[in-house]
Symmetry: C2
Subunit: 316 residues, 2 copies
């Protein structure tokens, strides 16, 4: 453990937990903001929200290998731990949990890569326990990333067990992730409250994401078309002009493809169950999209996700 002017930095799970327990013994309420680092304004807004919800904010920085597949960008995921620490300290975080690995060390393995899906070690002592939210993990991002939410639910479980927070704050850009964590907490009786915060956007509407840094200059210029398409769809449904999911999805795809995006999906689903809908005017509807844009690094593409909730008042 090291301390940077009152902000504790833990790399050991047991030291992190001990510190958390000491704070709780003192009656402090703890909020956790889990991140994969490379922090932007969106993350910092989560820390800001967390400060309102608890006495102490702990943020974690960890790029979790089990939510990446072998062909995905685990190795390319941007990292800047020192800049991140400075930002968290400036925001008033009390502690940062920054483990080297959250998975059991596998004999002979040099890197965390061994925990990436498809590269897992088959050593009988390696990590083998996973949490799955069986229905909610299937649609949307679950289609093209079939092991993604298994990895997310598992690592969030681990972080909850290590930090033992009273409340945890997630961003709704990862809308499906937020719903999955919410359901997991309900189903497994975690003593943790889950809060989902609104998406933060750049001035031109692009949802903030650590991955934006990997876009080519041209792609960065065109990517705000995603949000324009989402806004168009929301207005089309809420004004009563359109309610057919198929028609809306086709329009949204067209708008994003015209901006140079290669579509993974654009789907209108029930905002709670994430199941397909027949008529976008009848319930609170989530329009979620994922699209690939050109990347400036050798990996070729950057996968961006975004979403908008339509007819929000019906659910409430």
């Amino acid at each position: 453990m090291s301390v940077q002017n009152e902000m504790h930095i833990f790399s050991s799970a047991s030291e992190m937990r001990n510190w958390s327990r000491q704070q709780k013994q003192k009656g402090k309420r703890i909020a956790l903001v889990p991140t994969m680092g490379y922090l932007h304004e969106g993350h910092l807004s989560l820390v800001e929200a967390a400060k309102e919800l608890a006495d102490i904010v702990v943020s974690s920085i960890y790029v979790n290998p089990t939510q990446f597949a072998a062909h995905e960008d685990f190795g390319q995921y941007p990292r800047q731990p020192e800049v991140d620490r400075a930002k968290l300290k400036a925001m008033g975080c009390s502690a940062v949990f920054e483990p080297t690995s959250l998975y059991v060390k596998v004999q002979g393995a040099e890197s965390e890569d061994v925990n990436v899906v498809g590269k897992e070690s088959m050593h009988p002592e390696s990590h083998e326990t996973f949490v799955q939210v069986e229905r909610l993990q299937k649609p949307l991002c679950g289609g093209s990333r079939p092991h993604f939410f298994r990895g997310v639910a598992t690592v969030v479980t681990k972080l909850f067990h290590i930090v033992e927070p009273d409340v945890a704050v997630f961003g709704r850009k990862d809308y499906q992730q937020w719903r999955i964590i919410e359901r997991m907490v309900r189903d497994l009786d975690f003593g943790v409250e889950v809060v989902g915060m609104p998406i933060c956007r750049e001035q031109d509407g692009l949802a903030m994401s650590s991955r934006n840094a990997r876009l080519t200059a041209e792609a960065r210029q065109h990517a705000p078309a995603i949000y324009k398409a989402l806004r168009w769809a929301m207005q089309a449904v809420e004004s009563g002009a359109e309610k057919n999911p198929g028609t809306i999805q086709d329009q949204v795809r067209g708008m994003i493809e015209q901006a140079g995006g290669k579509m993974d999906y654009a789907e209108l689903v029930d905002a709670k169950s994430l199941q397909p809908i027949l008529d976008a005017s009848l319930q609170t509807t989530l329009l979620a999209v994922a699209a690939l844009f050109p990347s400036k690094d050798s990996q070729g593409t950057v996968r961006l996700i975004d979403n908008i909730v339509i007819n929000e008042e019906i659910l409430l």
Copy 2:
């Protein structure tokens, strides 16, 4: 909540957790003994062990539907809550957690049966989160009960989250279960210590089990053949007379079948990984068996399990 002369009885998860947290605020160390009730000397020995490990013992009584399949004995599993409570009180338990259901209520469902595997509700709001220990759940009992350990790992996770114990005590009659919980705790970073206690046996060697009460008088008389077969195998290996797993398994099966048991499995496996072995003399070996004996109730059979660890000192 009700209190029976100083033993608290909780049916609500939030009241259970609040009480546990109060005890911890007072600096008390809590041990959990999870059970499915119909308590026998084996369970009580776990409570006895738990008292040595902590300041306060909490026992849970809950027949968990998600670890039963539709054709199994969820409905027939013996229940005697009042006798159990009296036993736990006499043993010095401080609290009993006795929930009606640990799963989300499904609209229109009358009973817990709706959470038995194969009878699950497909309601979009029903329980859907499961913990799986992917390698260790497959062999032995995982063969004939493919969803069993998923249900066990899930309900133990829930109990850990509700009671928040410092230590939890399990019996090694359920050897595979103990290994699975131990691995789950390691992999998911639970702040809980897991302790496995030796099997308790009747005078004639039959492993104590709530299910023994369901045997016919004749089956009860013959069932100790299981332990005789296990002892024979241990002596055969440890004396150097036999080391071939196939030969030993055949002998053990024969002995149990001669006593009227119908074999599910008899297997020699590595005592840690539960993987098949080639030579029983080379590592600490688990001989685990499951066999069906005649039942006095209409269900027809009672499934008994038992095990013995051979060459225990090699592992140590």
